[in-house]
Amino acid sequence: MSASPRPALAQSIAERVEVCAGCHGQDGKPIDKTIPVIWGQPSGYTYIQLRDFKRGDRKSEIMQPIASSFEKEDMLAIAEYFSNKPWPDLGQPRSPKDVADRALRAERSVGCTGCHLDQFQGTGTVPRLAGQSREYLTKTIADFRTRARGNNPGMSDLMLATPPDDLAALAEYLAGL
């Protein structure tokens, strides 16, 4: 009981996040555009995703085996670790005005900012979308629509209620913020 668990936990987090860098990037810029930015993401969101990978609620051949060994406190600590990293600039261009207008019309219809907040920065268990990789956004929106990403049926419903052309505009707009 006198052994301090903190250094051990810290060490294991440091080790575990080494694995993450392989795909999500040493500097927070993912190695592939369909892989999401996790640096600077709200910790609640990252925790819930790890939890869902472990539970099998979110499917990924890569993430499931990694998350399956984590306990809740590990997941919370890892999520906290990444939330304290700065959000990387992927250098994605601002969307042209017609695309932005279309995206914002769609946003007003569905009410994205009701959860993702005014500047799409996310909070708590809701992810930041501003500056996220356009290809990842496109892929995960498509996965919500087919329910291939099944860990948030509310998002699936909202994406199904939005026309595909509007969603493409949203992905481009959000990536360029």
């Binding site: 007003r108 005014d118 419903d157």
Partner: protein
């Protein structure tokens, strides 16, 4: 938190000089302003004061003025003749630029306001100077609908009570803002959160919960005001939630339920009470004469898909009365059984004397619904006496949601959202602010997602269809609309009536205005620069009446964000 301001400032500036000296002369010296906490000289609030809040023109002690929640403030210095001279007394800027729904509470010259993410500020109500700031350390997991809002605190004794976004109940020292006790209300990972102001009465702190969009089982609870220990719990969803298979709503319109299909589902699934939602977003009204509380219960989960939840889904979309001491059920009235439109009951109920069907004056309770009706009830048994004319356009009610989207009015925000109404009993009027948002209602089916957003479809504003709002005065003894002011945008926030013959309310475009409470004539207005989407308060200080309101916009109906608390007075 109780530091001497002069010492703290001396230390700060001394350090600043030391740091600046060796640096480049051209380099800017970052001087962060660190507000210094001062003790708020606030005397303990007694139960007698709270009980008599309806007659207290000096203070604003309860979220909706008094336990009856009339939102009629007895101060009358600011009146129809002089309101044109109303001007800004002070502006306080909070640290949080996000949706602002706070109801300022004022106790003997000390004001308590809250912001999104559960911050609390104690301010000098005369000058707007800050006494202290409670910055709640939010847990990593928050799950909530409609913005990280907080609608205010209440004070009893020398404690300030706050319910937080991560579902905790916190008691703060009213003088210093220090935490005295903290209690976990529920698990945010399962979809529970708190945005409402608690109601304090008879050494209890009453609180509901959000989570109707996440498959929670709702509740109203009483906690011991001194210790934070649970006194009683009332589940807003009873174990038998099936009800009477009502096919018509409170106004007699057919809701197009397929009762046989629901009965078949019930035989297959059993009673769906465990994940049926039923959040309580706003304060209960308290009737101390009968020792009862009256509150309204929100929508069933999932919002738009009725298939996993056969039955009337009691007590969702209902007015409910409980015994204050025990939390035992007394009566209920359900407005919409088996709701699949999220047109639920959210705006806080108000206790008034009303005329029954025979014209006799009896104790009543009224509630303004998302449907756009003001409902008038007998306080004795919750039964419906009458409902008002619709305050907003109603079209195609109750068309069932479809996969492609079915158009229906009102949209899912109302009518009247969480916004509290005001009343003027002498004029027999209730004042409500309304939204008009044409929407498509879509249904999708998915299993319970473990505390995630569970809408069972989507309600989407129809692009190209004009939205608007209104302020409506309804005679609750006749159900007739007395006057209505149209506004360019949907209205959400709240309204206050005063003995000066005025009502005050704000709009999402930043306009804050005073109207003649008898005819709706606009008498004064001010541009706040951000959405005025919070209920105003009134108080007296040094023989001057003040009106105060938050201008910070809104998340749910995306209105321009800001962070201002603005107080107004004459001359």
């Amino acid at each position: 938190m109780n530091r001497s301001s002069s010492i703290a400032f001396a230390t700060f500036f001394g350090l600043g000089c030391l740091l600046a000296a060796p640096g480049n002369a051209q380099q800017e010296v970052k001087q962060e302003y660190v507000p210094v906490s001062r003790e708020a000289k606030v005397s303990p609030v007694t139960q007698a004061q709270l009980t008599a809040a309806d007659k207290n023109a000096t203070n604003f002690l309860l979220t909706n003025v008094n336990y009856a929640q009339t939102r009629f403030h007895p101060a009358k210095q600011i009146n129809r003749d002089n309101v044109k001279g109303l001007h800004v007394a002070w502006i306080f800027q909070t640290d949080v630029r996000e949706s602002l729904e706070t109801s300022p509470i004022v106790v003997d010259g000390v004001m308590f306001v809250t912001t999104s993410f559960s911050h609390v500020y104690a301010l000098d109500a005369k000058t707007g100077e800050q006494f202290w700031h409670y910055n709640h350390k939010m847990g990593p997991i928050t799950t909530y609908c409609c913005g990280p809002n907080n609608r205010g605190v209440q004070v009893l004794g020398d404690l300030v009570y706050l319910a937080t976004l991560d579902a905790k109940l916190v008691a703060l020292n009213a003088k210093t803002g220090d935490v005295v006790w903290k209690t976990d209300i529920a698990d945010p990972e399962l979809g529970y959160s708190e945005t409402m102001a608690p109601t304090v009465v008879k050494d209890k702190v009453l609180i509901g919960t959000n989570g109707g969009e996440y498959g929670i089982r709702g509740f109203v609870r009483a906690y011991d005001a001194k210790t934070g220990k649970l006194v009683w719990n009332f589940d807003t969803i009873p174990e038998n939630s099936v009800g009477v298979w009502a096919t018509k709503d409170a106004t007699g319109r057919d809701m197009h339920r397929d009762i046989q299909a629901e009965k078949d589902q019930l035989a297959k699934l059993g009673d769906p009470y465990k994940r049926l939602g039923g959040g309580v977003w706003q304060n209960p009204a308290v009737d101390l004469a009968t020792n009862r509380i009256y509150f309204v219960v929100g929508n069933p989960s999932p919002d738009l898909d009725g298939s996993p939840r056969p039955g009337d889904n009691l007590y969702t979309d209902s007015l409910v009365a409980l015994d204050l001491d025990t939390g035992k059920y007394i009566c209920h009235f359900q407005y919409i059984a088996h709701d699949v439109w999220d047109l639920d009951a959210v705006s806080p109920p108000v206790l008034l004397d009303v005329k029954d069907k025979s014209g006799k004056t009896i104790p009543g309770v009224i509630h303004a619904g998302k449907t756009g009706h003001v409902y008038v009830h007998d306080r004795k048994d919750c039964s419906l006496i009458r409902f008002s004319e619709a305050m907003v356009p109603q079209e195609n009610m109750w068309v069932l949601p479809t996969k492609e989207g079915a158009r229906m009015l009102p949209g899912a925000n109302g009518g009247v959202e969480w916004s509290p109404i005001a009343t003027d009993p002498a004029q027999e009027l209730a004042y409500a602010i309304n939204l008009h948002q044409p929407m498509h209602y879509r249904v999708e089916n998915s299993p319970y997602p473990n505390g995630k957003l569970w809408l069972g479809g989507a309600f989407t504003a129809i692009p190209g269809e004009q939205q608007s709002g209104n302020i409506t005065a309804v005679n609750y003894n006749t159900g007739k609309i007395k006057w209505q002011v149209k506004t360019p945008e949907p209205m959400i926030g709240g309204i206050l009536a005063t003995a000066g013959g005025l009502v005050f309310t704000g709009e999402g475009n930043g306009k804050f205005a005073a109207y003649n409470s008898s005819n709706g004539k606009e008498l004064w207005s001010f541009r706040a620069g951000a959405g005025v989407n919070a209920p105003p308060s009134s108080y007296m200080l040094g023989n001057k009446q003040y009106i105060v309101v938050g201008a910070g916009g809104n998340t749910q109906v995306s209105f321009k964000r800001g962070n201002n608390i603005i107080a107004f007075t004459l001359d």
